[in-house]
Amino acid sequence: MDISAPLLEARNLVKTFPGVRALKGVSLTLHRGEVLAVIGENGGGKSTLMKSLAGVQPADSGEILIDGRPAEVASVPDALARGIALIHQELNLADNLDIAANLFLGREKSRFGTIDKPAQYRAARPLLEAVGLDADPAALVSTLCIGQQQQVEIAKALSLNARIIIMDEPTSSLTTRESEKLFKVIRDLRSKGVGIVYISHRLVEVMDLADRVTVLRDGANAGNLEKSEISHEAMVRFMVGRDVSRFYPQKSGKLGDPVLEADDLRSPAHPQHGLNFTIRAGEIVGLSGLVGSGRTEMMQTLFGITPATGGRLRISGNSLVPQTPMEAINVGIALVPEDRKKQGVVLEMAVSENLSLASLRRDQNAALINRRAENDLCSEMIGKLRIKTPGGKQPAQFLSGGNQQKVVLGKWLAMRPRVLLLDEPTRGIDIGAKQEIYQLMEQLAADGVAILFVSSEMEELLGMADRVLVMHEGRMAGELAGIGLSEESVMHLATGGCHSTSKSTCN
């Protein structure tokens, strides 16, 4: 074995999906006992790269070298056999089984063909100790919190003798305390010579943890940073590829009357917390919070998907708590949902049919479809939003993510909404389309639409929002604007800290 060779080297990986070139020749190098952070905007190719390395979705072309020797990683078992383990963003545990059963899933310790539970429990204990999880191996995974479940995943990777552990946004759903525990585990692993690829868009964590940083942008390498070069500015510069302040459109600043007023609104997901906020015409308000903080649930309550269990909502002065999406649409609310492919577009339907889906009911006389009106709407939106498609008849599934999102936006623009709700509007779409969506949001706001958008991307939140609402565990943790609005202040509130100048009380 060549000790001087890097532990893992990827050269020129290319991966293509229908309609998208996700990786356009990406390379990275990982040494023993090193934490390599891979960062980049959503849609930059991070997750695809990790899935290629772990054999989940093998690359179309390119080379992977382990210990300096070419290695074929065509499947997950291949990757595991070569010591590569991926810890997914969404955890892959069977939560109806106990910890030990999950650790040894697929390679159970057996005696006479039956599972030898005591042996599994004995073998599980040192593994759990190694990741600092103080739990009984016989405990059901469903009784563990997310942070502990993640530790089980890491223990599982260790039990497979993984030398390369890839972590995809491991802290996205952890509290600060849980994250700190995780960092300690990561540092322990590093000192034992394990190589760790750490994907995150939390730059503060990266500065804290990483030995080197590889930045991806639009499916290609945007730059590498050595330990001494790692700084917030340097990372953002590589990620965005241009000056951040010019990436987001200029704000117009004219605010009109309140359009959306929530008074003690309670979503079924967190009925114990009433939500209060107001959004004015022409205002762009960001909604922040960790995953599970109730952001998406609140959007769905506003749109009538999960009707509110209490409280009041006023839209342009009229009281109405929508019980169905149809009611919400009728008073001028539109939602660009979080899961574009499932909730936003009907993948197998044509672009034109997707664009008209919401407005059919209003535009058509009687129950008949007016084909001409449908085609007119389609060409109008394709032109206005610069949707790249061979034509209106193209099924939406063959469009890239950004163009699919434009179709969703077009569907709602046809309804001329007064309130536009967007849930992670730019997740997984390329940077060019992203900027177009930002411009569109600004333009709609300038036309007097009230906009509320959820985003996990701090840059986007700070760049786009006039004001940011922050949620934590189902309650409104605070509201930030102007000089008080910063990455730190948002994170502080999102992770449960109190904010002295926030309007809501923290208790």
Partner: protein, 334 residues
């Protein structure tokens, strides 16, 4: 577009027709053709109903039992119970619609899988029919000639001497035109197609998906009820333990062969009718050659499987081709 989707099955249908002609000179006799058309029309009607449910991504296994219930119910009400014709027909229609409503509500409101709900229906409705008839054969005897001509009638065609169009074909034609119009030209048809492909995306677009799904099940049960009435009018007697047995499978097979994906969405009514015709022609072929009577299901199953596999392979090739083309267009500036 519509034609392209059903091209494969249409070719297969003609191939089976030609094969049968070469195997038996009786196939093209007007007596046989009339019978074949009548069976095709009857099965086509219930297949269109099932297609509506399949479009929503659901399934209805109770169709055969609803055929039995209405097929036994009508003569029972008329002859044994002495109901008047209008009230008996009304009762059959209401019960059929009620069954669909019940299925739809259980599926959308309680979230029970369509498979389970309609499986229970499959057992219940036949059981009910066997119950009220005392498991005895019911029929019209010599009466109701006028009513029976709805199914047994023949419409003389000009310029053709010894061939007449069976009356059920007219029913099928009207229902097929209405169904195709509903699915392709009305917003509710569009809603059904949308929710079949993505229930969630349809709901997020403000469509009352629950209501539309219930409608699909009502349409399905009503057409099954109508089918049952026509079946019993055609053969004059109905045996509760046997009437409509396995018809749900013929109907589902016809809908699937006709291009309905069990994952929901796609449908062409023309394809469904060709599918029904193909099933009946296969049965006809087996009867005529009469050497492999007991192989009927094996042969039909094999043809169905071959059709579905061919369709899937073709679809995959199309998707790949389109994806490559889309990528090429994306990478060149618009």
């Amino acid at each position: 577009m519509q034609l392209k989707k059903t091209l494969g099955i249409t070719l297969l249908f003609f191939a089976v027709c030609i094969l049968t002609t070469s195997l038996s000179e009786n196939f093209l006799s007007s007596y046989n053709l009339e019978n074949l058309l009548r069976r095709t029309a009857l099965f086509g009607i219930i297949s269109i109903g099932v297609a509506f449910v399949i479009v929503t991504g659901g399934i209805d296994l109770s169709v055969g039992s609803v055929v039995c219930l209405s097929g036994c119910g009508l003569p029972w009400l008329l002859t044994t119970q002495g109901w008047s014709l209008p009230s008996a027909l009304m009762a059959v229609a209401l019960v059929s619609a009620g069954i669909g409503l019940l299925h739809g509500l259980l599926i959308t409101r309680l979230g029970i899988q369509p498979f389970v709900v309609t499986l229970c229906g499959l057992m219940m409705y036949r059981g009910i029919a066997r119950g009220f008839t005392g498991d005895q054969t019911v029929g019209f005897g010599d009466g109701f000639k006028g009513l029976r001509s709805l199914a047994t009638g023949r419409i003389e065609l000009p310029f053709i001497d010894d061939f007449a169009l069976p009356a059920p074909c007219v029913f099928l034609l009207v229902i097929a035109l209405l169904a195709a119009f509903f699915l392709n030209r009305t917003i509710y048809g569009r809603y059904l197609l949308a929710l079949g492909r993505s229930e969630e995306a349809a709901r997020y677009s403000g469509i009352n998906t629950g209501c539309m799904t219930v409608l699909a099940y009502i349409i399905c049960s009503c057409l099954a009820g109508l089918g049952g009435v026509l079946f019993v009018l055609d053969v004059n007697i109905a045996q509760p333990s046997d009437c409509g047995n396995f018809y749900e499978l013929y109907a589902i097979a016809a809908a699937v062969l006709g291009g309905c994906s069990l994952r929901g969405g796609v449908s062409t009514i023309f394809g469904v009718i060709i599918g029904a015709a193909l099933m009946q022609t296969l049965r006809n072929m087996i009867t005529l050659t009469s050497r492999h009577q007991h192989m009927e299901f094996a042969i039909i199953g094999a043809v169905l499987l071959a059709g579905v596999v061919a369709d899937e392979l073709m679809k995959r090739r199309n998707i790949r081709r389109r994806a490559v083309r889309a990528l090429r267009e994306e990478s060149t500036p618009a």
